[in-house]
Subunit: 159 residues, 2 copies
Amino acid sequence: MSAQPLDSSEHRSGALLDHLARRMRLRSESVLAPLGLRPRHLVALTVLRDSGGSSQQALASTLEMDSTNIVGLLNDLEAEQLIERRRSPEDRRRHVVELTQDGAKRLNEAECALAGAEDEVLGALAPSERETLYELLRRAASATHVICGEALRADVDNC
Amino acid sequence: MSAQPLDSSEHRSGALLDHLARRMRLRSESVLAPLGLRPRHLVALTVLRDSGGSSQQALASTLEMDSTNIVGLLNDLEAEQLIERRRSPEDRRRHVVELTQDGAKRLNEAECALAGAEDEVLGALAPSERETLYELLRRAASATHVICGEALRADVDNC
DNA sequence: TATTGTTATACTCTATAACTATA
DNA sequence: TATAGTTATAGAGTATAACAATA
């Protein structure tokens, strides 16, 4: 301990981040369950909507998920006809994955439900603070990788 | 869509939170590995230091972890003599868990390593912004449960 | 030969149930 | 009877390896 505590506070945010993310995930799972979706389904749907369609590899890369896990994820969504897989005409190895109308509709509903979950978890923060938090998270996330606000954002005018 | 986009931006922070927490965890795992620790070990050590000792149940409650998982976690730490388990004299069912000197030392080293991981993950944010982020996370986290800044905080004067 | 998607599989994480020793 | 800690175990999540189709 030096005499001057001037700089002082380097705070570790890692554990807090982990803790809060876990709570958010648990609450999100609860509110999404009635819609037959899980949080991971939602991020996939969101990226697909915002990108207007994507290959499975591209999706894996955007979500920083292992591509083998994308398969089952899309199987779920396809079984409920929320997405469609088509072979790409340009490269027949590729699947072009796109949202269906049902998918877009379900996504809207899910986003409304999620807003409720966030209200619970972030209820201690004022709206302006929540906006600040969002902005900080978005910048930190987009700095190191492709996934950024545009892909993970949702404006909800529709609840 | 109504005419006035006034309120507008309700942004979903859930996916961002999850994404960033995952990155932080991965980086933390990397920098902690040489010290023989994992992120979960660190939060346990931190809580034990800040609380000055705790029963395993209390620890489980603070960390919002299942108490059965605390057992293995403490086994790891005890095997490296970073913590001690003693039967409580007042209630011999209870274990009083406390940090050893080695544990306190290892915790310091780990916190320095973690600071590096955070620099990587949050590098896009200015110091003042990181402080703001920390403060928002802390308030959101402490609102709903016991785990709060004091328990998960680490001032590092010692790197 | 490399790449996209797929399957099978192993490994980790977490939670549930049953047991013990104390209260 | 209830509680603290422990063990065994099953389920979910995630990653690795091998394979088929296409480039």
